[in-house]
């Protein structure tokens, strides 16, 4: 007489491992699939051009423009920003405008440019935290 095989009972821990793995896979796929710009966008005052990104060649051109050049010189190289950040006044009596662009080749990194009046004051990169 053949022995009837007992149904194999899984250890509850294995369900946890399987569930965790599936969850991690889902999170990874979501992250890989979502290439849209991420914060700095939560600091934006207004979105100007939601499709705007800064390409490597434009970035290189921009970095060759000396600080204290005119805003027009910068604007001639880079198109409209993704968004404007709130105006700030760091120096007494000199309001500063800030514009932000996600990098086309690394959308998690943002390029922030600061103008004071018609003067291009400087730039920096905001990395995803």
């Amino acid at each position: 007489m053949m022995k009837r095989r007992k149904p194999e009972r899984k250890n509850p821990a294995s369900y946890l491992v399987m569930g965790g793995s599936l969850l991690m896979l889902a999170m990874l796929m979501t992250d890989l699939g979502d290439r849209r710009p991420k914060p700095v966008s939560n600091k934006c005052l207004e979105v100007v051009q939601s499709q705007s990104v800064l390409h490597r060649d434009k970035l290189s051109q921009l970095l060759s423009i000396p600080e204290r050049s005119s805003r027009e010189q910068v604007k001639a190289v880079i198109s409209e920003p993704y968004c404007r950040l709130p105006q700030v006044e760091i120096r007494a009596g000199v309001p500063a405008d800030r514009e932000a662009y996600p990098l086309a080749f690394d959308p998690q990194t943002w390029f922030v440019v600061l103008y004071e009046g018609n003067e291009y004051a400087g730039y920096d990169f905001v990395f995803k935290k």
Binding site: I90, V94, R98, A121
Partner: protein
């Protein structure tokens, strides 16, 4: 930063910028989000002899021309933006933020200041008297002391 003056400086800064761009992808890909709070050298544009940290007749200078001294009375100061706190000369700290390119804030007189990455509104430290300076980047890479706005000081002093 860029040499509007000499060719040598243009080359140097152009190379530095190229390196910076080249580093962008590997840095973010590796998930390196925080810089360690290394000491930061801040070359000052104004060539005044007496700077915070100088010593005169055995006494340490706590502030110089261009600093604003505020009676904190033991209260805290707060990060005006997301940024970085780094120690610098004169027992001071430097606050920098990529959200406000071309500026640095120098704070002297804080006890046990927070170092490294800080969030907007986070307490940076407390003290009896804060000696505060706003520095704006010059085209030669040095930093000029400029007059801070009262709006900036308010962000620094007001609890969020």
């Amino acid at each position: 930063m860029w040499g509007a003056i000499s060719v040598g400086k243009v080359c140097y800064t152009a190379c530095a910028n190229a390196l910076r761009i080249a580093l962008l992808i590997p840095l973010t890909a590796c998930g390196i989000a925080q810089e360690p709070p290394t000491a930061r050298s801040v070359p000052i544009h104004q060539t005044w002899q007496i700077q915070p940290g100088s010593a005169i007749a055995g006494h340490r200078v706590l502030a110089g021309l261009g600093d604003i001294s505020i009676d904190l009375a033991g209260q805290r100061v707060y990060a005006p933006f997301d940024g970085q706190m780094q120690p610098t000369a004169g027992n001071c700290v430097v606050f920098s933020s990529p959200e406000v390119p071309a500026y640095l804030l120098r704070l002297c007189g804080l006890r046990r200041p927070s170092l490294g990455s800080v969030q907007e509104g986070q307490a940076l430290g407390r003290g009896e008297v804060l000696h505060f300076a706003t520095l704006r980047k010059q085209t030669d890479g040095r930093w000029a002391l400029v007059e801070p706005s009262s709006a900036l000081l308010t962000r620094l002093l007001r609890s969020p």
